[in-house]
Symmetry: D5
Subunit: 152 residues, 10 copies
Amino acid sequence: MSAPSPAITSTLFAAKKASTLSFAQLGEKLGRDEVAVAALFYGQARASAEDVTALSQALGVSEETIRAELCDTFPNRGHLTEMPPREPLIYRLYEIVQNYGMAYKAVMNEKFGDGIMSAIAFSTKVEKEVDEQGNAWAIITLRGKWLPFSRF
Amino acid sequence: MSAPSPAITSTLFAAKKASTLSFAQLGEKLGRDEVAVAALFYGQARASAEDVTALSQALGVSEETIRAELCDTFPNRGHLTEMPPREPLIYRLYEIVQNYGMAYKAVMNEKFGDGIMSAIAFSTKVEKEVDEQGNAWAIITLRGKWLPFSRF
Amino acid sequence: MSAPSPAITSTLFAAKKASTLSFAQLGEKLGRDEVAVAALFYGQARASAEDVTALSQALGVSEETIRAELCDTFPNRGHLTEMPPREPLIYRLYEIVQNYGMAYKAVMNEKFGDGIMSAIAFSTKVEKEVDEQGNAWAIITLRGKWLPFSRF
Amino acid sequence: MSAPSPAITSTLFAAKKASTLSFAQLGEKLGRDEVAVAALFYGQARASAEDVTALSQALGVSEETIRAELCDTFPNRGHLTEMPPREPLIYRLYEIVQNYGMAYKAVMNEKFGDGIMSAIAFSTKVEKEVDEQGNAWAIITLRGKWLPFSRF
Amino acid sequence: MSAPSPAITSTLFAAKKASTLSFAQLGEKLGRDEVAVAALFYGQARASAEDVTALSQALGVSEETIRAELCDTFPNRGHLTEMPPREPLIYRLYEIVQNYGMAYKAVMNEKFGDGIMSAIAFSTKVEKEVDEQGNAWAIITLRGKWLPFSRF
Amino acid sequence: MSAPSPAITSTLFAAKKASTLSFAQLGEKLGRDEVAVAALFYGQARASAEDVTALSQALGVSEETIRAELCDTFPNRGHLTEMPPREPLIYRLYEIVQNYGMAYKAVMNEKFGDGIMSAIAFSTKVEKEVDEQGNAWAIITLRGKWLPFSRF
Amino acid sequence: MSAPSPAITSTLFAAKKASTLSFAQLGEKLGRDEVAVAALFYGQARASAEDVTALSQALGVSEETIRAELCDTFPNRGHLTEMPPREPLIYRLYEIVQNYGMAYKAVMNEKFGDGIMSAIAFSTKVEKEVDEQGNAWAIITLRGKWLPFSRF
Amino acid sequence: MSAPSPAITSTLFAAKKASTLSFAQLGEKLGRDEVAVAALFYGQARASAEDVTALSQALGVSEETIRAELCDTFPNRGHLTEMPPREPLIYRLYEIVQNYGMAYKAVMNEKFGDGIMSAIAFSTKVEKEVDEQGNAWAIITLRGKWLPFSRF
Amino acid sequence: MSAPSPAITSTLFAAKKASTLSFAQLGEKLGRDEVAVAALFYGQARASAEDVTALSQALGVSEETIRAELCDTFPNRGHLTEMPPREPLIYRLYEIVQNYGMAYKAVMNEKFGDGIMSAIAFSTKVEKEVDEQGNAWAIITLRGKWLPFSRF
Amino acid sequence: MSAPSPAITSTLFAAKKASTLSFAQLGEKLGRDEVAVAALFYGQARASAEDVTALSQALGVSEETIRAELCDTFPNRGHLTEMPPREPLIYRLYEIVQNYGMAYKAVMNEKFGDGIMSAIAFSTKVEKEVDEQGNAWAIITLRGKWLPFSRF
């Protein structure tokens, strides 16, 4: 019921490096998005029984080890990312919320009414695009169910 | 050089309400995304000379008023959204960064190398999807240029 | 799109006092719970068109005034309660979350699996009970939809 | 007199997993609510002599171990839940206090006068409801003695 | 339902100065302790109907003014004292809690069991003592009902 | 010169439990108040040479151990109690300062002039009272020398 | 009983500028140190009846104005200096405490025993020295009564 | 380049205790002030080659040990004193900055112009005075070079 | 002695806009760097008598107005920039300190010994460079006197 | 994917000390600036394959050790420098941002338009200058690509 130990994170990253598999390749083996796989590595998502088997086979880590930390427990989410983030990559995401938060709210309230975009009934992915000048662009998609405030 | 006064925000929202135009319709008139238009309303983006004219015509607010606040000055960004956000809609976006920040970093470093996704050379949009059961889903897309760390 | 001015809160409380109606009586007129009515007074919930009419009739405040502040805008929730709360009554609620948060999570994960109780698809009420010794007890009920984490 | 070591929490969770007993089943054996049992596991409540015996029998952990940590000491409550909570499930409870705190105060002052709902002379429980569409709902009940401010 | 305006505090202090009455003398007229009277002046306690009459007569402030701010509303307590306090006199009280908090808990748990001293069913007073060398000593007494944690 | 190690606290509490002596009984042996004895256990007060001998005899802990931690060093006070306290018992004391701080200052300035109540030239005690209904009440007395601000 | 309004600070500084008197010259007229006079200007010290007369004569501000703000009330000290200070001059003083705090404690405990240097029974002054190279040096002297911790 | 380990602090304090030398006596041997010596013990100042030799001879700690921690590295200053300080002795120094910061600035700007008193080109000392009544007074002197702001 | 009112900032920016002068052109007229001129506009630097005359002539603002706010007072520096900065441009500077602070310290201690780079005996400038691909680069130069820690 | 362990930092500093090489000399061997080399030591920059070889040869640390910590992982930047910094040298850099942040923004917006100076497409260096009086001056140069805000 507590957070997974940092040991599982190290174990999985070491096994992944030895396997030379990317998160995207692991994602295919699990039938999950690569972001979800990385979240699993950090103990920020929960593994299903099938995930345990697939991860074990792909990475050569015993099912018992994986199950005990990522499947038998319920993740203690959110404590890994320091807020405000000092890490430059994560800070940019934070900054987007800080700069455009009110604008998102205005547009989403207009489009959907009074409610929120769920972060639970939710998925996300990261894509790479290269433009004509050869510049790389990162595209993050956030997709969440719209939940209207209940009237009571 | 300072932040726009809250007055311009109220003026623009009142004029928009009177005009019955949506952010999306305003976006078409300005050739900008609706999120950027909402950001303009909050003084979190800068208006070009053409934006001033188009906004003035669409909303019936004088060009002088708009130009003085949104075009002659450079926005003082980021101060409108309290962090951590108390507003439930904005909090969910913050929570996504908190929960998936490390996973985004792991996947993006693998996909792009050592660098960040820019929040400046950046655009974003909000879309609405309705699934077969009639549930609405919100989709937010973040697109930023990949900036590798300079070697020095 | 911004928070209602404190003026509407004062106006509504003054009118309520003049009317001698309780929140529970107002709740009956609106078909809403008394907590929801109090939240309306503080601009922390959104009024429907029917709410505007009913409130106006019950309290003798013009529909225009109420509509402009509580219906045309989308509430900017959560900013009224200082956290951690210094107010003793509100602090006790905060303390319950602080003391029993982990226990709630352990029990709810066991009962429902990996997910959260929604605070959006949500209702709440306050009841009073008097025991045999004449002591009063307050009972707060929180009822929220269970949202399982999406697999992705 | 100090907080229980994290070791007792791990020991109890491991023993509970081996026993396959739920918190509700343990609660029946102790004559306590399942939330109180989970709070005991985290050292956030104090065990009576009978609780020690019942827990020991149910979980196969020695009475000495349980007594030393949960009965001989007085719990150092509240330090386990980080505030504001990052854990999504616990954050929703926090958000309810943040959004409805003032409304609860207004309604409770009206119903009970000047005072607070005790968080000490207090009990709580979690229930599960399934509606006609098959959706699960969580119901949390908070019941505290009403304490009027003393006149002095 | 909101906090009293600072205006009532200024009004009462000005009237008290004009009257040359001390808090202790006012306390006698109200049948309350002088600390409770000072708390009333700051809107941190609630006046009864009799308090309103007595204060009005003693200070020459209209009953309406006093009633509206100190009797019709329920105090929003605790927000007047900045924490940690910068004011040297108040800081010393804070420091006593900081230095002796754990010792108070150890002694009180031993003397009373598992529970708390109520700050609601509570009274306090300040006394002055002069020792043989002519030094003044301040004595603050805190008296609160002992509340044992409920078993549930 | 540094803070005592937590080890001495554990050692003393274990020895006290074995001895079945209460803080009050220990206080009689040392000629000190029971709160001061508990503060000694937490390393928040300094032991005299006589205290070391008396504690050693009462608890069966060697004089050397006690002297090295509680007598040779000067206590690093105040770091044991987290502020704001999460512990419910200690929080109530903090709340009293928060709610009545300004009232104490007003009354004490009136009674004593411009100055502070010392927290150094200071003593404190805890007493238990049982009223006619059998309810227990805790009484904490704080007694500090009054220090007027120097004129310079 | 509340803090002096910023108005008195402005009034006094304007009158001082018109008078061309330095703080040192004002100090001579009041029989107080120049730092105490500056503290008076900011409402961080209390004026005696004689101070009021002397200030009034020196600066041409009416006795009534000065008395009402600096003599009838008890200062609400400490709230003027933001901590940590952003002002570079004040920050250096803060940094001295931060860098040498532990060293001061070690030396003072050795020299004086277990206690503190009072900041209430206290005076301070600022002097200027010019060395042979023509460099100016500032010398701040802090002089406080030593208060040993009471044994209780 | 990193902070000295806490081990050197313990080693030096233990050796000093064994030697029965005071900071003042050590200061004479090093030709430094006793506060500087105490700062060296805490790794908050840098030892010269001569300091290493003198400390080694006085305390019987090997030169290698002292040199590695206090001479080869550059101190990571300021992290030892928690701010705001909880330690009562250090808090009084902090409170002096808080209460008199603005007054110091006003007097020093008047005496020296626009600039700061350096905390780097800086020395400090602690003295003890006993008045006619036998009361001890502590005198702390801060002496820093005056640095005018550069015009650029 | 207090901070300049925001009014002078607005006045100067409005006059600068009317004059169409850049900061660089104003800098030439004052014989100061453009960054220093912008700092003057924000009241974060002090104007000399000559600066007052030159600014007055260049911008058509009366000497009296400028002198009263920027020359008669000593700036209250540092309070204009919120830390951590939310403004994206200022945040990047903050991030550079955060990411490279330890590296700067290591290199500067090696190059200069134990000391600091002064931020008072200090100047700074901003330059623009355009590379062969037409990309603009900003170059900020910080130049401060090296101050070795005094030995005492 | 996690931060390098502190062990690598110690290893590299020890090896550098043994080698008697300066950061500048190491920089020549790696073809990188000395600040970048120091950042590598702290795990705040990423080593290329060539950097690993060059560092290994220069310092006599195995390539495997360096590669595992500085090349196979992506740095978790920014967490090493506490903000606000307590370290005096790093604080001065922070203070420069605090004092001149708004001025930099005003000048840079005027010179470059709406955008930021990148801290990613960025290099920095430290130089030493000795003036005619023999005073040392430190010069830090920050050079970042200018990124205009995208229009969207």
